[in-house]
């Protein structure tokens, strides 16, 4: 069986022409961040939404657009998504480009696990925040991203470094600094984005932060 993008192009090409079908589908796949070879649960809805946008932009006749939408829907509903992914990712934080790499990897794993788009972004933002702190204050460190299963399934991210540690962590977590100096906005914000947030730190002891987000 063909990959989803090819199936969609085949369905649409006699209605809108091959070139337009290809652009709409390729853009939709890219924007919804779906892997056409291996669709995961939740992918169909995101892809359908993006394809709808593309069709609205490029197909002006309402009747023809309606027909396109019907075909998109029937093609997508016939797809059996693969089981939610599990995964273990380890990224060494050595320079600031690793921050971008870490948040991208976290977002991709979230997507493959079936998290909604909003949560993918929250997890990626949290990883970005914590990984940047490592580069900025400790120099180097490591991020481990794991899917967790059992009682509650979800994603767990552990960010660790052997830097100077954070002093006055209790005050920071209570938000006493953030309004004035901006210090701690990132870390307090990260806690607000996550379901679980644990931090172990102290002067000279390095820092280990563990965050979790659960699938509903």
């Amino acid at each position: 069986m063909d990959a989803i993008d090819q199936q969609l192009i085949d369905e649409l090409k006699d209605l809108v022409g091959t070139i337009l079908a290809k652009s709409i589908v390729t853009l939709g796949v890219a924007r919804s961040r779906v892997d056409p070879q291996q669709p995961r649960p939740g992918d169909q809805d995101r892809l359908a939404a993006e394809l709808k946008k593309g069709l609205r932009l490029f197909v002006k006749e309402p009747d023809r657009r309606e027909l396109c939408l019907q075909r998109v829907e029937s093609t997508l509903s016939a797809i059996e998504p693969a089981a939610p992914a599990t995964g273990t990712i380890q990224i060494d934080l050595l320079s600031e480009s690793d921050v971008v790499k870490a948040r991208g990897a976290g977002r991709d794993l979230c997507r493959d696990m079936g998290f909604t788009g909003a949560i993918q972004i929250k997890v990626a933002t949290a990883i970005s925040e914590l990984a940047r702190n490592v580069i900025q204050y400790a120099g180097t460190g490591r991020v481990d991203i794991n899917s967790i299963s059992g009682q509650r399934s979800g994603i767990e991210v552990v960010v660790r470094d052997e830097g100077p540690g954070i002093t006055q962590i209790d005050e920071i977590m209570r938000g006493e600094f953030s309004s004035k100096s901006g210090m701690g906005i990132g870390i307090v914000g990260t806690r607000n984005l996550m379901d679980d947030f644990d931090i172990e730190t102290g002067p000279g002891e390095g820092t280990v932060i563990t965050i979790r987000k659960f699938l509903r």
Partner: protein, 130 residues
């Protein structure tokens, strides 16, 4: 992912348009700050539009940088409009308690241009002196 080293700044009549369509590294953020201020000075632009529709995440560092750009532009007499904010990123920003004061926002590029140009009619006659 190949690293991009610069974000283009486009001059459209009296406005500058910066469209961010890549994952922003911290280095790139600094580069944008430098480039925008230099470009404002050399072009004498009156408005600045930052299109964030392609940004992957907006964490505290990136949002602060964008806010700073808005403030710097204002000091140089330039109005800043941020447009194309992804709804999921907006939600994340609010939950984190971050905001982008210093710049106005618009839903998309068209409304950003309207906001700056006044009903979309761009007045190209009065050029600001350099």
């Amino acid at each position: 992912m190949s690293e991009i080293s610069r974000i283009p700044i486009i001059k459209l009549y009296e406005n500058l348009i910066v469209s961010i369509q890549v994952a922003l590294s911290d280095r790139l953020v600094l580069q944008i700050k430098d480039d925008i201020t230099a470009e404002i000075e050399s072009t004498g632009a009156r408005g600045l539009i930052i299109d964030v529709s392609g940004i992957d995440v907006m964490d505290s560092y990136i949002s602060r940088a964008i806010r700073d750009i808005g403030l710097m532009a204002r000091l140089m007499g330039v109005r800043t409009v941020i447009c194309g904010m992804d709804p999921m990123i907006a939600m994340t920003l609010v939950e984190m308690g971050l905001d982008l004061t210093g710049a106005q926002s618009a839903l998309n590029l068209e409304s950003a241009i309207e906001l700056l140009g006044g009903n979309g009619k761009l007045d190209t006659r009065k050029k600001r002196g350099k």
